[in-house]
C-alpha cells in the first residue's frame, strides 16, 4: 500500500494523460475509424442504389410508353415476314401469287434443305417459271416486296425457240429464324426501335395483308393447327 502511494506520487502527472491517451486510441481504433469507414462505404452504396433506381425508373418509364397492342401487332407482322418455323406452305403460296402477278407460269417447284454450313435458318425453293423476260424482271423486283424474306441464289434464263417466251430457273432461299431472343439483364438499356427499324415496320405493314398475319411467337403459331410445317419432309 505504501509502495502504491509512492508510485502514484511519483507518476501522478503521467497517469491521467496515459490512461486518457490509451482510451482515446482504443476508442479511435475500435469505434470511430470503423464507423467512419462504414459511413463512407454506405455513402457510396447509397449513391449507387440511387443511381440504379434512377436508371430503372427511366427504363420503366420508357417501357410504359410502349403501346402493348401495337407491339403485338408488330410482332405478328415480323413473324409473318420472318417466321419462327419453316412454314413452307406460306412461302409457296406467296411465291405462287408473285409469279401469277408477274404474268409468269409456274412450271415446277422443288424443295431442298439449306446448304450445309448455312449461318441462317433457311430452306431453298427451286422455281422454274415460263413467260416473258419482262415478267421475270417484274418477279425479281416483286420478291423484295413480298411477305416473306426471299433471297435469289442465281438466275438461269433460257429463251424458248418459239418466240419471246423464256424459261427461268431461279433457286430461292427462304429464311426463317427459330431463335427467340430474350431481353438482357434488368439493368440493360431498354430496347428502342430506331428510325430505320420504324420505317422498315411501316414498309412491312404495307406489304403484308392484315388477314395473313401470323400469331406472335411460338406459342400462338403452335396453337393453330396448320399441318406439317414442311410437307416435303
Amino acid at each position: 500500500m505504501h509502495n502504491l502511494t509512492e508510485v502514484y506520487a511519483k507518476y501522478k502527472l503521467l497517469i491521467w494523460p496515459v490512461v486518457s491517451g490509451i482510451a482515446s486510441v482504443v476508442i479511435l481504433v475500435l469505434v470511430v475509424i470503423p464507423q467512419l469507414l462504414t459511413y463512407f462505404n454506405i455513402r457510396s452504396q447509397i449513391s449507387d442504389i440511387i443511381s440504379r433506381s434512377g436508371r430503372l425508373e427511366a427504363k420503366a418509364q420508357s417501357l410504359e410508353v410502349i403501346d402493348e397492342n401495337l407491339s403485338e401487332e408488330n410482332l405478328k407482322l415480323v413473324f409473318t415476314v420472318l417466321p419462327s418455323d419453316r412454314n413452307v406452305p406460306s412461302a409457296v403460296t406467296v411465291l405462287q401469287s408473285l409469279i401469277a402477278q408477274s404474268g409468269l407460269t409456274l412450271k415446277s417447284t422443288s424443295y431442298s434443305a439449306a446448304a450445309r454450313g448455312a449461318s441462317k435458318d433457311s430452306f431453298q425453293l427451286n422455281v422454274t417459271v415460263l413467260g416473258q423476260i419482262s415478267g421475270v424482271r417484274r418477279f425479281l423486283i416483286s420478291l423484295k416486296d413480298s411477305g416473306r424474306v426471299f433471297q435469289i441464289e442465281s438466275i438461269s434464263v433460257r429463251f424458248q425457240k418459239s418466240g419471246s417466251q423464256v424459261e427461268a430457273e431461279i433457286p430461292i432461299t427462304v429464311f426463317y429464324s427459330a431463335s427467340l431472343g430474350k431481353a438482357g439483364a434488368l439493368d440493360a438499356e431498354p430496347p428502342k426501335l430506331n428510325a430505320g427499324e420504324e420505317k422498315l415496320l411501316l414498309d412491312l405493314s404495307r406489304l403484308v395483308a392484315p388477314g395473313t398475319l401470323a400469331g406472335s411467337g411460338e406459342a400462338s403459331s403452335s396453337s393453330v393447327p396448320i399441318g406439317k410445317s414442311n410437307p416435303f419432309e
Binding site: W16, S71, N74, L75, R137, I155, A183, P191, S216
Partner: protein, 181 residues
C-alpha cells in the same frame, strides 16, 4: 510606486502547489480529450443511424423501381424480339440485290432487235449471257451501254465479249461475261 511582495511560504509548499496546479491542468486536458472523443464517437454513431434510414429509403426506392421494370418484362421481351427480328430482316433482305440488279440491267439495256438466248447470274452476281443480233451496231450499243457508268448505274465492273461469230443466217452470236462491282 512599486509594491513589495514578500513570499514567506516555505519552498516545499510552493513546489507542491506548482505541482498540484500542473496536475489539475493535465487532468483537465486529459478529461477534455476524452470528452471530445466521446462526443465525436456519439456524433459518428448518430450519423450512422441517420444513414441507415437513408439506406433503407434508397433500398425501398430500388425495390419499387425493380418491381416496375419486372412488371414490364413482357413488354421489354416483345420489343427486344421485334428489334432483333427487324435487324435480321434488314441484313437478309438485300443479300441478293446485286444479282437482281445486274440481271435487270442487262435485260433493260439489251436493244430491242437483239435477243438473249441464255443468261445465267451466279451467286457472286457475275452474269454470263448468250446473245444473237442481226446487226453489229446493236452489239456495239449494248457493250457501250454496259460500260457507260451513267447507264450501268455503277453496277458493272468489267464486260468481257467472248466468241463473236457471224452465222449463215446473217445473225451475230456472242457471249458476254459481266462482272459486278
Amino acid at each position: 510606486m512599486g509594491g513589495i511582495s514578500i513570499n514567506l511560504l516555505p519552498q516545499d509548499i510552493i513546489l507542491q502547489r506548482k505541482q498540484s496546479s500542473k496536475l489539475v491542468l493535465v487532468n483537465r486536458i486529459s478529461v477534455g480529450v476524452l470528452v471530445t472523443l466521446v462526443f465525436f464517437t456519439s456524433a459518428t454513431g448518430a450519423l450512422r443511424i441517420m444513414q441507415n434510414s437513408e439506406l433503407k429509403e434508397a433500398e425501398n426506392g430500388l425495390a419499387y423501381a425493380t418491381e416496375r421494370v419486372t412488371g414490364l418484362k413482357s413488354t421489354e421481351d416483345k420489343t427486344f424480339i421485334l428489334k432483333e427480328r427487324l435487324g435480321l430482316i434488314t441484313t437478309l433482305v438485300d443479300g441478293d440485290q446485286k444479282r437482281k440488279e445486274i440481271f435487270n440491267l442487262v435485260v433493260f439495256l439489251t436493244p430491242p432487235d437483239m435477243q438473249i438466248s441464255e443468261a445465267l447470274v451466279d451467286k457472286n452476281g457475275q452474269l454470263t449471257a448468250s446473245f444473237s443480233s442481226p446487226s453489229l451496231s446493236a452489239v456495239q450499243t449494248l457493250i457501250s451501254n454496259l460500260s457507260d457508268k451513267e447507264k450501268n448505274s455503277g453496277l458493272v465492273a468489267k464486260v468481257n465479249l467472248e466468241g463473236l461469230s457471224l452465222g449463215k443466217d446473217s445473225t451475230y452470236r456472242f457471249n458476254l461475261k459481266i462482272s459486278p462491282k
